[in-house]
Amino acid sequence: MSSRSPPRVRAALAAVGIALVALPWLIGPFGDAWVRALCFAALYVMLALGLNIVVGFAGLLDLGYIAFYAVGAYTYALLASPHLTEHFPALAHAFPHGLHVSIWAALPIGASLAAAFGILLGAPVLKLRGDYLAIVTLGFGEIIRIFLNNLNAPLNFTNGPSGITLIDPVRIGSFDLAHPGAILGLHPSSLHLYYYLLVGMALLAMLVCIRLQDSRLGRAWMAIREDEVAARAMGINVRNVKLLAFSLGATFGGIAGGLFAAFQGFVSPESFSLQESIVVLSMIVLGGLGHVPGVVLGAVMLAMLPEALRHTAVPLQDAVFGRVLIDSEVLRMLLYGLATVGVMLYRPRGLWPAPEHGAAITAGKTSQAVPRHG
């Protein structure tokens, strides 16, 4: 692809690449919290790109997307922590040293499990109209969370609300990202290494998304989004193509989830609440539904927002009012809500919308003037 790109694009890509490599070293002196926020931004980019396949490309509103993230995260957590061997003696007998599956084996497992859940959910509900689909997926997300919260009895699978701890970090060969030691005479911090890993995965996800968008499948998704009946008339197998969107989106969520579990070393059901699904949705709506660079922009902006607010809004309130009136977490949700409503009303195609395709799913008044009735 790069061989076809004009030199200006290549120069810009090179500049972005250098900036991404240098970023943790530039931002590091302001505190590890910023580098951590960057790591989470990369995870959110993966999530947003996955959800964008479902909502942005195929036009299916999914409000339970975070459930696939949870499936990925718990898969890795169970496969790479002492939890299962501690609670199931038979398993402990078979694996006396614990079940320490490498992340490179666990990620495909988690991703395929998430995809399987996507198909399981999608197969019966995808024929539903947009807003019904939204509510069913929301219900699915809540069901997964309720099960994660309660599957600690009578057999302890998920350890309930307290979550699973002691999850193995990412290892590449015998090299442990949590305890890096010296590489080539350098002593990089574990956080920086995770940053490079996660950003690398996010870039890979971007590449996959861009290639998907230009593919036959991507065009089929967009055709369905614009007009399902017309797409069917053009010979697109609507059901299968929608299912593919659902399961591919879920795959992204599953991979991001596995990386999240490894990065945190800990997972609990509260990371997978409906609020998280809505946050990811706000990211893609704000950035520009269906437009990969826009989605990445939205994800990075909203993911960095809490950290930025902690460093600006809190001291600002302290200086002006003498105390903190609105803490940064609440302010973040307030801004998410305002941004979602404001963008829909005044800039319905997002901050960085796709250049072509006049009638995207939120293209304003270009489509039918009055909803059909009867």
Partner: protein, 309 residues
């Protein structure tokens, strides 16, 4: 047997509450084809406003009897919810009335986040206790019990639903609402102003939500900024179960869903030999929702075909 009677009573109470909320969803859906995602949060604001009003009134006149406080609290909640709902409709939904259908749904989610966050700022993020305003002593039916509050919930819900059916079937406004739901363009040719009918629909739905919100906190004696979400979701399920857009359907759907949940929670432990407990109660509603949507998308009483791609 005792469990059965007790769970039937609980289910009826729960179902009456769901039905009241479901009416708001179904009426708005009927005229606009919009899932008003913020409906549950309007309910929450009403409930918390009533709680504050009751607190203030009790502070001013400590001698006021409980039932009067409850009525006054409800009277305070209704205008709050109605005006809030009208503002939301005017600012967030009306400009998007002719936009593709995902746009107003996403806006509604944004409004829902905003309402929750604002409520958290005003009332704090802790659980607030709602005072016991009606007599505490329960009535006994066999070995099952029902509190006065629960009886009031059932009675009030029945009364309100009767009034609403009369309003929709027998008044001028009701006829205008049915006409707008059928076809807004033709309705406006017949001299109906769709904007005011839609606003009235939102107002009535919000009023019902206010009553439901106060009754929820009076029954369970807690209130907090997130209390509207789960009832809202369940009520939407109830509306779909009954056939969305259908007013009688919302009532039937609410009661049926309440009974399913209460009986499910009451018996799941016995049926699965303790593997699943009543903490899975919330799962039933979603399973019902998925089943209905897959097998009979038009709902129990729905005459409209739900598939309009």
């Amino acid at each position: 047997m005792d469990t059965l009677v007790q769970q039937l009573i609980n289910g009826l109470v729960l179902g009456s509450l769901y039905a009241l909320i479901a009416l708001g969803y179904t009426m708005v859906y009927g005229v606009l084809n919009l899932i008003n995602f913020a409906h549950g949060d309007v309910l929450m604001v009403g409930a918390l406003a009533a709680l504050s009003a009751i607190g203030v009134l009790h502070g001013l006149w400590p001698g006021l009897p409980g039932w009067l406080l409850l009525i006054l609290g409800m009277m305070a909640a209704i205008p709050v919810c109605v005006s809030l709902s009208l503002v939301i409709e005017r600012i967030a939904y009306r400009p998007l009335r002719h936009a593709p259908r995902l746009a107003p749904l996403i806006t509604a989610i944004g409004v829902s986040i905003l309402l929750q966050t604002m409520a958290m700022l005003i009332w704090g993020r802790n659980y607030l206790t709602f005072p016991q305003l009606l007599p505490e002593a329960p009535l006994h039916i066999g070995r099952a019990t029902i509190s006065v509050t629960k009886m009031v919930v059932i009675g009030l819900a029945a009364l309100i639903m009767g009034a609403l059916l009369w309003l929709v079937q027998a008044t001028r406004l009701g006829r205008a609402m049915r006409a707008t739901a059928e076809n807004p363009r033709v309705a406006s040719l017949m001299g109906v102003n769709p904007d005011s009918v839609i606003a009235m629909t939102f107002a009535i739905g919000a009023g019902l939500a206010a009553v439901a919100g106060v009754m929820i906190e009076a029954t369970y004696q807690v209130a907090h900024f997130y209390m509207g979400f789960i009832p809202g979701l369940k009520a939407f399920t109830a509306a779909v179960l009954g056939g969305i857009g259908n007013i009688a359907g919302a009532m039937v759907g609410g009661i049926v869903l309440g009974l399913i949940e209460a009986l499910g929670a009451g018996y799941i432990g016995q049926l699965t030999h303790g593997i699943f407990g009543s903490n899975y109660q919330d799962v039933f509603a979603f399973i019902v929702l998925c089943t209905v949507l897959i097998l009979r998308p038009s709902g129990l009483l729905g005459e409209r075909v739900a598939d309009r791609a």
